[in-house]
Each structure stands twice: as structure tokens, then as C-alpha cells.
Amino acid sequence: MPNTVVVDITVNGASYQREIEARLLLVEFLREELGLTGTHIGCDTSYCGACTVTLDGKLIKSCTCLAVQADGGKVETVEGLEQDGKLHPLQEAFSEHHGLQCGYCTPGMLMASKSLLAENPNPSEAEIRKGIAGNLCRCTGYVNIVKAVGAAAVKMQEV
């Protein structure tokens, strides 16, 4: 067997077939093969959560997943949140409530928050904090991030 593999991965609804090195991480596939640089590489040790995406609906850290593990799967990244030029309610809430300072953790925070609200549309503050426990913000902006997620939850339930 060669150490390259052909993968077919659907990202934000579009299917991509690429021949890649088997050691390529999913986050590098997204950023370097597809040019989707919204997903960030933070610690690169599965600690910080900046690289968080969903794979087949499940929240994962794309720095700790080989691209070949996503072969045949559906990946959603932060680029998929905006629809038809309209920001996702979570993106709007992060903007309104200053849920970011430097913005580095934001793509992962958004994906983790989206996954949380899909499972628990009306989370308490403690549940929000637990929901984003796998995502670190080095600007220590958790207060406003938690506020933003809570506000988005309210807004999303109104729709």
C-alpha cells in the first residue's frame, strides 16, 4: 500500500476528492488542500479547541483526526455557518455581545456552541460553560462568550 490515499470528503455541502498523504490531519486538509482557513490551528495537541469542526454531526478536534478518518464523511466548518450572506444567529450574537477579542478561538467556540444548542436549545449558564469546556480563550473572554451563546439560544428559539 502506498502512503498516499484518495479521500472523498464533503465539506459544508460540497464534495472534494483529493489524493493526500495518509498522515495529513483533517485541519490541514481543510486549510491547505481546500483553502478553508476559518478553522484555526491553536495548540495542535487536542487541548485548545480552536480547530473544532463537526464530522458527521459530531463535534471533534480536527488537529487530532487524520483526514483519511473523515473519508466518506460530512464535515462542517465555521465557513458553513453563514447562509446566503446572512450570519448565523451565533455569529451575530458573538458580534453583538463582544464574544471575541483577538478572535483566534472564535471558529471553534462557534462550532462548539452550535453543537451545544443543537442538543440543548435552552442551556443554563453552567451548561454553556460545560458545553464549551473543550475550547480555550486566551483573551479570557469567557464572560462575554457565555453571554453571546445564551443570547443566541434565545434568538434561535424565537425563529
Binding site: A22, L25, S46, I60, T64, V68, Q69, A112, A133, G134
Partner: protein, 297 residues
């Protein structure tokens, strides 16, 4: 960080996987969920030229009660176990599964992988040792079942042969008088625990008829202590009994001083965790609903 280059194999059956592992011997490593294996590959820990991905093998993700045993497929994820109603019959199992790292890691990481990596700070080696679990192993010579106590030989070292794969974890289901708890102290969600304690108690007519006590992150492998358990057997179990048992098992442990804490800090923390786990398990034996969860710094 890129892992070093390797050849990737995705066998379609367990037998095909075993054949590949037999062929490559020590040059091969198994990939299940990858939550330990990929970080180790990125750090270039351990040499491998062949990676055998068993993550998609069929029929290894079950979580089922059969008779008096809970059968957990090696590829069941921590998240699947944490949300399993049948696994909830063993509270320590749910507390360990639901407290491993964070949601992202729990969605990918598997019980078979988490046990087989045999990290001294891992939750599964300690929790499953305390629950007297067994490991089903399949290799080219057929299948064998060993206790977790015999499975893990040392830190990062198991009795697995090069051509063997863990296929199932078997945990004895508790009777009506028996319950358990597992509690860790962690600095942050994504971090390994600083230390951990697990306990399973059987209380018949108010006295303890069976007990299993275990410490994690407190030595090269999970720490058990018959002398500490003897402190609790036959007793109604007061807080001071738990403190006495904690004193004994912690004295027999060897928590390594490291970035997570000094030896003295860990010994003190381990004692409080034993008492906390003990009180939680006792309350559950009395039929009380006690919510779980680790302690975070």
C-alpha cells in the same frame, strides 16, 4: 505537527486486521479513535511504519447487558458510554466516560483504545480495574479473556501480542445492594486528571459485604489495596472508616510529582477523592440519586 510518514491500511474485517498486524509485527500500530495514538504520532513517540485503522470495523460498538455482565464493544466511544442507559447501571462507568477530556475527544475516543494505551493517568485503566472488568482479546490464535488487572502490565504496556486486538470490555453488572462512584480532580476539561479514585460497594442490611477501591494517577498502574478494603468490609462505613481506608491505600500508592502537582499535594487530594467517592457510592447504595462529575481546579 505532522506525524512521520506511514502506510495506511483500512482492513474490512477483524480477521483481515489481525492478519495485517501479524504480518507487520512491531512495525504496526492500531488506530481506533486516535485520541491518544494521533498525539503520540505527532510527538513521534513510538516507531511505526504501518498504521492499521480499525475504526470502521463492524460490530465493535455495542453496549449491551447480557445476563449479569455489561458488554462494551472496544470501539464504543466515551460519549456513547456516557449517554448509554444500560451503562448507567454502573455509575462509576458513566462518571469516568463523561469526564474524559472534553466533548470533542469523547466523540472520537474509544474505550478499547483508552484502556489499551494504558496511560498511568488514563481514566479507563483505573475505573475498569476498580470495577473488576475483563478484556476480550482476539488474535491469530483465537480469542482469550483476561482481567484488566492482568491486561495492564505497566505504564503504556499491556499483555497484547503484536497480532492481537481488544474487541470487548466486560463489566460485571451490580446487584441491587451494590453501587459505585469514580471521581477525578482535573485542572481543566481537556487535561488528564491530576488524580482519581473509584469505589464499588455492596451494602447488605447496612453493612459492607464487598468493596473494591482503586486509585488512578497514583503509580505506574492503577493502585488497589486489600488492607484498605479490609477497613470497610463488615462495617456500616462512616466517614472515619473511609478516611482510614484512604490513609492506607494512599500510603501504598506512588503518585509521581509533576507539573500537575507535588507528591504531597496529590496524596492529600487522593485522600479527599477516596472519601468523596465513598460517600457518593454509599448514598447510591441507599437508593439516593447522586449526581456525578469530577472536581475541577
Amino acid at each position: 505537527m505532522y506525524p512521520a510518514p506511514f502506510r495506511y491500511h483500512r482492513p474490512e474485517s477483524l480477521q483481515a486486521a489481525i492478519k495485517l498486524l501479524g504480518k507487520f509485527g512491531d512495525d504496526a500500530k492500531i488506530l481506533a479513535g486516535g485520541q491518544s495514538q494521533i498525539p503520540m504520532m505527532k510527538l513521534r513517540v513510538g516507531d511505526l511504519s504501518e498504521l492499521v485503522d480499525i475504526g470502521r470495523l463492524p460490530d465493535l460498538s455495542h453496549i449491551e447487558a447480557r445476563g449479569d455482565t455489561l458488554h462494551i464493544g472496544a470501539l464504543a466511544t466515551h460519549a456513547e458510554i456516557a449517554s448509554s442507559e444500560v451503562a448507567a447501571r454502573i455509575p462509576a462507568l458513566i462518571e469516568a466516560a463523561g469526564g474524559i477530556a472534553d466533548k470533542q475527544v469523547r466523540n472520537m475516543g474509544t474505550i478499547g483504545g483508552g484502556l489499551s494505551v494504558a496511560d498511568a493517568s488514563g481514566d479507563w485503566p483505573a475505573c475498569l480495574r476498580g470495577l473488576n472488568a475483563s478484556v476480550v482479546i482476539v488474535g491469530s490464535n483465537g480469542s482469550r479473556t483476561v482481567s484488566v488487572a492482568d491486561f495492564i502490565l505497566d505504564t503504556y504496556t499491556t499483555c497484547l501480542e503484536a497480532d492481537e486486538i481488544v474487541t470487548e470490555i466486560q463489566v460485571p453488572l451490580p446487584d441491587a445492594n451494590t453501587s459505585s462512584a469514580y471521581v477525578a480532580f482535573k485542572r481543566a476539561a481537556a487535561a488528564f486528571p491530576t488524580c482519581a479514585a473509584g469505589i464499588q460497594l455492596s451494602m447488605d442490611g447496612g453493612t459492607c459485604t464487598a468493596v473494591s477501591l482503586v486509585l488512578g494517577c497514583a503509580g505506574p498502574v492503577a493502585v488497589v489495596s486489600p488492607d484498605a478494603e479490609a477497613q470497610l468490609l463488615g462495617k456500616e462505613i462512616s466517614r472515619s472508616d473511609l478516611e482510614a481506608a484512604a490513609e492506607i491505600i494512599v500510603a501504598e500508592s506512588q503518585p509521581p510529582p509533576d507539573a500537575r502537582g507535588s507528591e504531597a499535594f496529590k496524596r492529600a487530594m487522593l485522600k479527599t477523592l477516596v472519601v468523596e467517592a465513598g460517600e457518593r457510592a454509599l448514598a447510591r447504595c441507599r437508593g439516593e440519586e447522586v449526581s456525578g462529575g469530577h472536581r475541577y481546579a
